[in-house]
């Protein structure tokens, strides 16, 4: 992040930047050694380059492969592309085309959108409401409820899957009394929304409450003096002021839900499967069609990778907010 500011600073006047850097170096030399510059020693730098190489090569390989003709993908490693370049979009065309016997990945791509967007809106919207109530409304047991919700962060997803699926497919009954109706949500997209919302909420509430509770008390008091009720304060003050936190949490949730496999596998039906689940299915059923798998893999990655590059800053912020406290 400091690199980006540095880059924008040096670009307009490269010479000035260079001069400044040289001056900084001289300054450091006179001090003996100083913090930033000397931390990266020569072997350290080599290690960084090595790690970057190792972390890039596998993805780069599948990227190249996805544009190679079928026969090439199946007979030679992707690195041979440099000696024998051949580019084609056939793999993409093939996996995206619809019709009987076709992979029709576009449908599954849209399923991912259909699952992810409402789930993010639901979990973040409801989470923000809860965050406001838990930090600025007075009621008995407030702290206990917050501790309870955060405590649920400890519960692994797997603990909830079996009963939740039973609930979706048969409702809940005590004796003959129905306490939760049989909504027949198995395989429906709504069931997936609810599952993602429930499983995502503890973290969302935790991060957003920390943010909303830290907003200055004065503005709430001023609003109350002006006669604003909770609903007005929430819609006119909390929502706009929380945009940075909401952006981070939304992106975090978006990545999580788009990339999820387990919940989709259990709650989404075959026809509502998101692209990640379909990719896993293809890996199982089309194990011999390497050329198609590369293209399918690239299509499943394009959205999260684009989000990552465009909004990395928010993503990192969300990650740090969620992680640093554990």
């Amino acid at each position: 992040m400091s690199e980006t500011t540095q880059m924008t600073a040096t670009k307009p006047s490269l010479v000035q930047g260079l001069r400044a850097r040289r001056a900084k170096k001289r300054h450091e030399a006179s001090l003996g050694r100083s913090a930033a510059a000397t931390l990266s020693s020569k072997p350290g730098q080599i290690l960084v380059y090595l790690l970057v190489f190792l972390w890039t090569i596998p993805t780069f390989g599948i990227f190249i492969s996805s544009f190679r003709p079928e026969i090439d993908v199946k007979t030679s490693g992707w690195w041979n592309w440099f000696a024998d370049p051949g580019l084609t979009l056939d793999n993409y065309r093939s996996v995206l085309s619809s019709g009987p016997g076709q992979d029709d990945l576009w449908t599954f791509f849209l399923n991912s959108v259909r699952i992810t967007v409402p789930s993010v809106i639901l979990s973040v919207g409801l989470g923000l409401m809860a965050a406001y109530a838990l930090s600025w409304m007075k009621f008995r047991g407030r702290d206990w409820i917050f501790v309870g919700i955060v405590g649920l962060l400890m519960v692994p997803l797997q603990m909830a899957l079996i009963p939740m699926l039973q609930l979706f497919s048969g409702g809940a009954h005590i004796g003959s009394v129905t306490i939760f109706p049989d909504l027949d949500l198995t395989g429906e997209v709504y069931g997936v929304w609810l599952a993602h919302t429930a499983f995502g909420l503890p973290l969302v509430v935790f991060i957003l409450r920390n943010f909303v509770a830290a907003l200055p008390r004065d503005i709430f008091e001023a609003a109350r003096v002006d006669g604003a009720g909770h609903l007005t304060i929430f819609l006119r003050l909390v929502v706009p002021l929380s945009v940075p936190a909401v952006a981070s949490v939304s992106i975090f949730q978006f990545m999580w839900i788009w990339n999820d496999y387990l919940i989709a596998l259990i709650f989404a039906g075959r026809e509502n499967a998101p692209i990640v689940r379909q990719l896993a299915t293809l890996t199982g059923t089309r194990g011999q069609s390497y050329h198609l798998l590369t293209a399918a893999g690239m299509i499943s990655m394009i959205v999260p990778v684009a989000v990552f590059f465009a909004l990395q800053r928010y993503f990192v912020r969300g990650l740090l907010a969620g992680a640093v406290k554990g």
């Binding site: 400091s2 690199e3 003996g32 100083s34 913090a35 510059a37 931390l39 990266s40 020693s41 960084v48 970057v52 972390w55 090569i57 993805t59 390989g61 599948i62 492969s65 007979t75 490693g77 690195w79 409402p118 409801l126 409401m129 809860a130 109530a133 409304m137 009621f139 409820i145 649920l152 692994p156 797997q158 603990m159 909830a160 899957l161 009963p163 609930l167 939760f180 609810l194 919302t197 429930a198 499983f199 909420l201 509430v205 909770h230 929430f234 990339n259 496999y261 387990l262 596998l265 990719l279 896993a280 390497y290 798998l293 590369t294 893999g297 990655m301 990778v305 990395q312 990192v316 554990g326």
Partner: protein, 341 residues
């Protein structure tokens, strides 16, 4: 296109209906006597989340514990029989062992790579690009990650895997180490001519752990990088003035300063390792001795339909997660005390 439009309309209607319901409730509780109004309004804000986590997490978790004490059909109470089963059956015992290997190797390596990146990339000209490169796999689904590495490990009939090409290129490497260049890396457990007994993980499990490390290292790098940049310059400079070398400064000042962050990253990775499902399911499906507790949970409950043992495996993950979380909490609390907060 009709599909998308109808899906969009349904989504908007569902969300609007929820908003209208909440608005109506807010209006209704506004008619209550003043004494109860504030509390009731708070509950309007809170209840959707409270209901969701109660129905979606709290009650199911308790029910899973209950199910783990019943037989596989969910009818007869069997006490801790399922737990005994998990630890005495060779297959499930191996999955527990595998999961612990994921946690141990995965966590140590992830923390090490993250620390190395955060330390050595700091101040380099390519710092942010390098960190992005390490972090990028974290944006890819673990299913996609499994696929990507499937191509690295690929073997016959399509001998196009990178690892085979590399081992083939090393002169004098025996076939059993991949020297022939025709190994099916993920499907063979043995290595170097040694076949592990059924109750031990094979080299293929290790190869899956490598994928896990590859996926996790970015998060660890980003968190450590932020922590290292947060070490006050005055501390570093004071150490330098006292004549400490870079290495001494890093080990004696920086590392102790970011101790609680290290615990946090280790916790995150441990929990992720215990829940490891996607990578296994998308590559080997848990066959060839690579299953983990989370994968076995899925297979047992949702493929074989065995409720009791399935629930037991879920509870087992929970039981293993708890002490890690508690240790993390303790470390955080101690760190806050030391910082005077």
């Amino acid at each position: 296109m009709g599909d998308i439009v109808s899906a969009l309309v349904i989504t908007v209607i569902a969300l609007a209906a929820l908003a209208a319901l909440l608005g109506a409730m807010y209006w209704v509780v506004g008619r209550l006597p003043k004494k109860w109004r504030e509390g009731a309004r708070a509950w309007v804000f809170l209840f959707p989340s409270a209901v969701a986590v109660t129905i979606g997490l709290l009650v199911p978790a308790i029910r899973t514990i209950y199910l783990s004490l019943l037989d596989d059909n969910g009818n007869k109470f069997v006490g801790f029989e399922n737990y005994v089963d998990v630890f005495t059956t060779t297959g499930t015992r191996l999955t527990v062992f595998n999961s612990l290997s994921w946690v141990l190797i995965g966590t140590i390596a992830t923390v090490a790579v993250g620390l190395a990146m955060a330390r050595f990339a700091d101040g380099m000209r390519i710092e942010s690009a390098a960190k992005s490169a390490i972090f990028l796999p974290g944006a890819i689904s673990l299913v996609g990650t499994g696929l990507i590495w499937g191509f690295v490990y690929a073997g016959p009939p399509f001998d196009v895997g990178l690892l085979n090409a590399v081992t083939e290129g090393i002169p004098g490497l025996p076939d059993s180490w991949g020297g022939g260049g025709d190994r099916l890396w993920l499907l063979e457990r043995g290595f170097g001519g040694v076949d592990p007994p059924d109750s031990a993980p094979g080299v293929n499990t290790f190869l899956l752990i490598v994928v896990f490390i590859w996926a996790q290292a970015g998060i660890s790098t980003v968190i450590f990088s932020a922590a290292i940049k947060g070490v006050p310059d005055s501390l570093i400079e004071a150490a330098k003035v006292d004549g400490a070398t870079d290495q001494q400064t890093f080990y004696r000042v920086t590392l102790p300063y970011i101790r609680s962050t290290i615990v946090t990253v280790a916790t995150l990775t441990t929990v992720a390792g215990l829940k490891a499902f996607d990578i296994v399911a998308a590559t080997t499906g848990g066959r060839f001795g690579t299953s983990t507790i989370a994968n076995e949970f899925y297979v047992t409950r949702f493929v074989q339909g065995r409720s009791g043992v399935g629930a037991t495996l879920a509870v087992l993950i929970f039981i293993l997660v708890i002490p890690v979380m508690i240790l993390n909490r303790r470390a955080q609390a101690r760190a806050e005390e030391m910082m005077g907060g």
